[in-house]
Amino acid sequence: MKDLQFFANVSIGQYIDSGSFVHRLTPVTKFFGILVFFIVMFANTNVTGTTLLGLWVLAAALAARVNPLFLLRGIKPAMPFLLILSVLTLIFQSGTTGVALVSIGPLSIHLSTLLALLLLFSRFAAVLAAIGLLTSVTAEQEIAHGIEDFFAPLGRFGFPSHEFSLMIAVALRFVPIVTGELESIVKAQASRGGDFGASGINPIRKARSYLPLFVPLIIRTLERAELLVEAMEARCYTGDERTRYTTYEMVAGEGFVRLGLTLFMAGGVVFGLYFAKTLP
């Protein structure tokens, strides 16, 4: 019951208007950038590739004039989890082959274990920084439009790109609302003596202790969704043939950015799958 404030340290979702070149790119290009990031990350499973990818994110953050330390702030609440995971990795992988760096009693720390831990941390930091960067250079409205434009080509094959982007926009808008609901429900139940941190190994008891948290959370979210539907229908929302208040023009040099992202994606995949196999 220590963590009643869930999102105090999260840097994801905060728009920072520095007016840089990166900010002025069209949302489609920004989404293409994050897609490239995840594809390259998927192709690179070792420390070298992940570090290079992290440096690329750092460069993008500097180009966008966003403080990289701000992007990494979200790592703080995850620290206890990561530390427990590292300690467990150190203990359980102490028997692996290779030359031990340090031996304490039955425990020995190997280079491979340290590299695995380094990989865990760098991956986490890279993902956090990349998502944080996307949201700090893309305003909320742009995110919804960007998703719609990004999936628009699929519309030719019958993919409902507008409906899809509306759903994503609702989901993103609901995240802080649901978090707020969750906080107030947890506090309300705790003040009535509810104990969600109940220890013990009986899972049924645990499940039952989660009921007073889950049921109100989902019911209240559904109620809010119904309200939103009513409000939108009252304003005659139909979803078809909508025009936009904002239009996005490609800025000078944006074509080169897209070309550069494509080349980076190709290079990153080739590097990860063929050249980085022998590197740590």
Binding site: I84, V127, P160, I168, V170, F214, I218, I219, A225, V229
Partner: protein
């Protein structure tokens, strides 16, 4: 041309998707258990199942897609960066849950919700662990997958059934009495 998907379904899918994201991000969706970190019981499939039961397979599919996409983004192990392990199983959870609910929908919605909870949760367990064992045999051996499947899978299915029944019964009850606007009254 009117929109092909009703607005109500789009919005509810988005809202339940947000619940899945919050449960994952705050780790409230994971119930710690005997096996220790990494093997917690997960109730993350429950919003997907509830969406499928209340609003049909399209909503189940969509909430599953949000949940899957978010687990891809959040993953640090590399195992869930693959859409075949993260996205596809979670999308199928909604469809299977809806199919399981369908025969009971008219007469026995409570029983149907329980069956959907069990079916949806087991789909998640079997497909996720199965795809992990198939695609990453080094990290997750078949033995480990079967062990985790048996120890966690049935427990999760039971928990999912309890939660699904609780929510679905309450929500359908509210709808019947026509008292949907409780929140609206509160906020006046």
């Amino acid at each position: 041309m009117a929109s092909r998907i009703p607005l109500r379904k789009i919005v509810i899918a988005g809202a339940l998707g947000a619940v899945a994201i919050v449960l994952g991000a705050t780790r409230i969706g994971f119930i710690p258990w005997v096996l220790g970190p990494g093997f917690e019981l997960t109730v993350m499939a429950v919003p997907v199942i509830i969406g499928a039961v209340l609003e049909g397979p399209v909503v189940g599919l969509a909430v599953g897609a949000i949940f899957g996409a978010f687990s891809m983004i959040q993953d640090t192990s590399g195992l869930f960066k693959n859409p075949l392990t993260a996205l596809l199983p979670r999308m199928l959870v909604g469809v299977v849950a809806w199919l399981a609910y369908l025969p009971f929908a008219k007469r026995l919605p409570r029983v149907g919700a329980a069956v959907a909870g069990v079916a949806g949760s087991l789909t998640n367990t079997v497909l996720v662990l199965g795809s992990l064992a198939l695609l990453y045999p080094k990290a997750v051996s078949l033995d480990l997958a079967v062990k985790v499947g048996f120890t966690n899978g049935f427990m999760e299915a039971a928990i999912a059934a309890v939660l699904t029944v609780a929510v679905v019964a309450l929500w359908l009850g509210i709808e019947k009495k026509g008292g949907k606007a409780r929140l609206a009254d509160e906020e006046k």
